[in-house]
Symmetry: C2
Subunit: 375 residues, 2 copies
């Protein structure tokens, strides 16, 4: 079945809405959390376990898959779904974010004056055509352009793809940001044209840019919503603080076509999620819950549990009594505490299962709250 | 149900036999492979997955569990089976092997002149009473004696336990080896007495010692088979080469009471296993198949596959077409190759599942071969 978005309920209390994205590999109930499976797997889980947890959309990174195993291998395997044995929806990004993070460093790098090391060497050239960088794996030169990024994403065959964009540094003059925005728009348009030559039953989400400048965000919404994209993701610099991000999103979201789905790129910590839901965000991707799990932070309705704390050594019940996840159904918090203390790999698997299940359940409850106009 | 061993078939071709060990947590078909779950988990697997693979006996290490989480914690949890959520048989060792490996280094350490660093500091005192060592985790002094080792194993509550013994260095004079053997026999007798005060439905296997000296091995068999042990494990220095080990075992096994089960400690590579089966070994424990998996060596009937080899990048079938393991049922060798190349934790899980399933199937086929007098 082809891509289609339907809105089931618009909250009377906020801009939040409950919807359903139909894709060739099944439905995504919105709003929803999207876990990051960079290399075609969630860290420490196999994809059958991911299915059983009910994660409806997985985010894979074109940059990583381009370098290993190469998108040609995935194409020969019959596409990413077959290669990684996942029968549910997948979204891929363009690779731009990672390449430009290498070139400019992340916002966090900038704020902490890190990233000088990252900056040198890897990115060889950036011009109107695209970018040339060196593979950190084998040193080969790779050219990434709007067209080649889309071709790579055609090889991968995800249900939703993303056009090639430039990620400008956070600290950038207004003139340079404007130039970057205009180039990104040209690149996104080229990406869309490349995609439309062979849609291959994929949907494509634009990336709204403009940093934290309201005028630029407005310009970006106006330009991109005039093009036949299937949905809109929000990218670029989202600000250096949460309030800055929320302010930007509050003014941005009403400018997006309401009948199309939107996606907030790279944000999914619980606090941001809580604040973004009333603004009408449909999907969020983040590695927060899976990374937190590997660092021994278990998410529960009562807050986070640091599993290695001594008080958990003798807790012979599940992490959460009411939790129905595989981990809570079979193992105790005391055992998890022990596995973390003993640095056993099994610990990361069991904690990740729990946190991911928590996110799936959290979003189910959030959709219910929206249906009841409580959000 | 209490411990009981029955022999179903004695091969006409060799000393190999097919049997069944009954334990309070179910049956162990023999001969069989025993995987090592040092800290109460097989590395990278959860114990429900281990059950589904059909691994009938798991080996846990008292030394490690004593230091983390502590046997008191396990006792409070209701025993090791409950703590780790395993409903099938478990065997624990005495802790002696690890403590004396720290004190003397392993045979491999000795042969390679390693281990000097290991030797200093950790073991504080060895005398007739037992040994005092320092925990590598928190620096506390721990006293391990025949009585305290058995008490620790009572807290853990495994189906089969092992008496406290001394592991002498491989290079040791005959006089010193004799003294060590005699002390080990006294320690094993004290362990047995401590066990019999409160059998707690556990079985106890003696440890035959004597290094590669046929007279000492004979003496050890004679002494220990006169005591009411439930089975016999073979420990101590097994020689520095495979032929030396096989020679020792060939003369040793006929001296064990044939109606009781035996166990070869710490050996389970495929070549040794192949050579030991006709000698009549009932169970083997080894971390070989699980460690090999994490190092990217997949076991198959056609030999080992090094998963990271380039030729596997485009192999879009399972590791082995006929294999019925979870990994082969769901994932391809190409995907596994990719996960290893990308250093994903999921790789270790999927490879371990396959190798463990391989061992379970290999031993099933071996039992069939013995039933047909082909071994």
């Amino acid at each position: 079945m082809s891509f289609r978005f339907e809105i089931l309920h618009q909250s009377k209390k906020s801009r939040a809405r409950v919807g359903r994205i139909h894709t060739p590999h099944g439905v995504i109930d919105t709003p929803n959390f999207v876990a990051v499976g960079t290399n075609g797997t969630l860290k420490a889980l196999d994809n059958r376990m991911v299915d059983s947890i009910g994660l409806q959309l997985m985010f894979c990174n074109t940059y990583h898959l381009l370098l290993q195993p190469g998108t040609q291998v995935v194409r020969r395997a019959g596409g990413l779904h077959k290669f990684i044995h996942r029968n549910m929806p997948i979204i891929t990004d363009s690779g731009g974010f990672q390449v430009f993070s290498l070139a400019y460093g992340s916002v966090a790098d900038e704020l902490k004056s890190r990233g000088a090391k990252k900056r040198d060497g890897h990115v060889l050239k950036i011009d109107e055509e695209g970018v040339v960088f060196r593979s950190y794996r084998d040193g080969t030169k790779i050219r990434l352009t709007p067209e080649s990024s889309i071709q790579a994403q055609k090889d991968l065959g995800a249900d939703i793809i993303i056009p090639f964009d430039e990620l400008p540094p956070y600290h950038i003059g207004r003139d340079k940001l404007k130039k970057s925005l205009e180039r990104t728009h040209r690149w996104e348009q080229r990406s869309l044209e490349e995609h439309l030559r062979n849609p291959q039953d994929q949907a494509i989400y634009a990336v709204i840019h403009g940093g934290v400048d309201p005028d630029f965000r407005k310009e970006s919404c106006a330009f991109l919503s005039n093009l036949p994209f299937d949905g809109y993701s929000i990218g670029g610099s989202l600000g250096k603080t949460k309030p800055e991000m929320i302010e930007m999103l509050t003014s941005l979201l009403p400018q997006l076509p309401p009948e199309k789905p939107n996606h907030l790129l790279g944000i999914g910590d619980l606090e941001s999620l809580h604040q973004c839901l009333p603004l009408g965000i449909d999907t969020f991707d983040s590695s927060y819950p899976t990374r937190a799990a590997r660092h021994g932070l278990l998410l529960t309705q009562e807050g986070g549990i640091k599993v290695e704390k001594g008080e958990n050594a003798n807790h012979f019940g599940p992490i959460e009594p009411a939790c129905t996840c595989w981990t809570c159904q079979h193992f105790t918090l005391a055992y998890l505490h022990h596995l973390f203390k003993a640095r056993e790999l099994t610990a990361y698997t069991l904690a990740t299962v729990h946190n991911l299940h928590f996110m799936v359940e959290l979003m189910r409850r959030n959709r219910e709250a929206i249906l009841n106009d409580h959000i």
